[in-house]
Amino acid sequence: MSDHGTTHSDTLSAGAGAHGADSHADHAPHGGSIRTYIAVFIALCVLTSGSFMTYTELWRTHFSSHVGWAFMMAISCSKAMLVILFFMHLKYEANWKYVLTIPAGFMSVFLALMLVPDIGMRFWHYSHERLEFCALPQNTSHAAPGHAAPPAPTTAAPATNPAPEAPSEHEGK
């Protein structure tokens, strides 16, 4: 396909025509040099040890877990960007990279986000029976007004119906 390197204007992405034709003539090694790879490798190692730092007591004594999460996610994203840009050569590719990667990235984040109000906050709606089974909520302060905060399970007597010795009693007919 690259034989047609001179006319790229008709591609899926309207913008794909913008890149210079000559930069992609043939499969010229358009990756970085070995030196770049080594630099990226070192950066990745440094970043990894950075996120590993959150494991040490020094970090834990100074920062709350939320800060740690944000920090680690930031580090992960930077690492991912490094890998994508240099190892996967996306830095050197034409504009098709946006068409292909942005929708996928967007959709994956969107999926997780849309699940949050329903699944990620679901323990607001736990039934009494379910709370009986699960451990104490770690922080009930999450519960917003308007949503019933889960009742503390230990204060209530066990459900009247289920009996551990005889689950068969549960059977319908």
Partner: protein, 400 residues
């Protein structure tokens, strides 16, 4: 799926205006210039975007379940070791570098060097899997895995938990006792071991009896007696050793445990009398004590004022540590959900690693010169993606 790619690539790479096999059409067709990519690379990127969605489904599930859960176990409770995870991250990063170096060498037509880097990549991938296997084993050996029927890991110690423990103990006792009496020999490994040990013990006992008889014989109290006495002592010791190994002993111990549970029920009638709502709720402390006896949590709480080195180097052993074959239900808050997501995410990631390794193994049989550069690039893209997934999995699973 990715392993199709390298094969495809050879006849549909950038010289794919037509298909090379002879009988294929009369006309070699030309095409409208499109993306500046080979077909192989195009489909690899498209495939990777489907993979992004696949892992988005899995990781998204983990995130929402985790933050929607009321409790989540500490890494140490579930025997998760951050340094090992960090080491594996390092291994994968290295393999990413080696594969990209293999590509550079192949592009420069340095086939031998390319092959060398490729071998290194393969080895690193295997190391990753090995470490993963070691980690899995650490979980399995402590009974941390999802299991049917769904009673392995419990959120908290409650009356139903006690019931599950008792059910399991009953089951074990029945298994062992039926196993020992069943015609045609025992079915389980424990049973067979038991039988073998029984036979051994019987033989040793016979010997002991003989020695004892010998000793009673009036004889010249010479070396013979001392030797016999020594031999007797040795045999007695052997017997003790055998007995120590005997599952029957364990079963006896088990029965003691069961009795303990029953004693508990006598002391704490409320624990088991769930039907009577008039009684006060069962003492959570008692239940927790029981749960801790079976599977003590491996505390790793860092507190600002506490000494970080207070983390117990040798965490206390519970019944489950001493007798792993008992497979008693254990209590880990949020443990089942943790085990489900952990094994799901790492399992699918490991599957991807295995697929990559298979392709690497195939590649190692080829000469990796410039003509294979496209192929290496494609498998490299896949391998970097696998690395990418791990970059997110490591902090999410180990450090959060």
């Amino acid at each position: 799926m990715s392993e199709h790619d390298p094969h495809q690539h050879s006849n549909s790479g950038h010289s794919d205006a037509g298909h090379s096999d002879a009988g294929h059409g009369h006309v070699k067709l030309e095409y409208q210039p499109a993306l500046p990519l080979s077909n192989g690379k195009t489909i690899m990127w498209l495939f990777l975007s489907t993979e992004i969605m696949f892992f988005a489904g899995l990781i998204g599930t983990y995130i929402v379940l985790r933050f929607g859960a009321v409790a989540w176990p500490e890494p140490h409770t579930v025997h998760l070791s951050e340094p090992i995870g960090a080491f594996n991250t390092f291994v994968l990063i290295c393999s990413s570098v080696t594969v990209v170096l293999a590509l550079e060498c192949a592009r420069a037509n340095k086939a031998a060097a390319a092959k060398g880097w490729m071998v290194l990549t393969f080895v690193l991938g295997c190391v990753f899997l090995g470490v993963k296997g070691y980690e899995y084993n650490a979980k399995f050996s402590h009974g941390i895995y999802p299991k049917l029927p769904r009673s392995q890991i419990w959120e908290k110690a409650g009356i139903r938990y006690v019931a599950a423990v008792r059910d399991r103990l009953d089951q074990v006792i029945t298994e062992i006792s039926t196993d020992l009496t069943v015609a045609g020999g025992p079915k389980t490994a424990e049973g067979r071991q038991q039988l073998a040990l029984d036979t051994q013990a019987a033989e040793v006992q016979k010997k002991i009896a003989k020695f004892q008889a010998d000793l009673k014989q009036p004889s010249d109290k010479t070396e013979g007696e001392t030797a016999a006495a020594n031999a007797l002592a040795a045999e007695n010791k052997k017997l003790d050793e055998i007995k120590a190994q005997m599952p029957l002993t364990i079963a006896r111990d088990l029965k003691q445990r069961v009795r303990k549970v029953e004693l508990l029920s006598a002391q704490q009638p409320a624990l088991f009398a769930s039907k009577n709502p008039a009684l006060p709720p069962p003492g959570q402390a008692t239940l927790d004590a029981l749960a801790e006896e079976i599977y003590p949590p491996h505390h790793s709480e860092f507190t600002p004022e506490g000494d970080p080195h207070a983390m117990k180097p040798n965490p206390p052993e519970g019944i489950n540590d001493r007798y792993p074959w008992l497979k008693l239900p254990i209590k880990i808050s949020g443990g089942n959900m943790w085990a489900s997501t952990y094994f799901l995410l790492t399992g699918f990631h490991a599957l991807h690693v295995i697929v990559g390794l298979i392709v690497f193994a195939i590649m190692l049989t080829l000469t990796l010169n410039a003509s294979r550069a496209g192929m290496i690039e494609n498998i490299g893209l896949y391998w970097h993606f696998v690395d990418l997934v791990w970059i997110f999995l490591f902090p999410l699973l180990y450090l959060f």
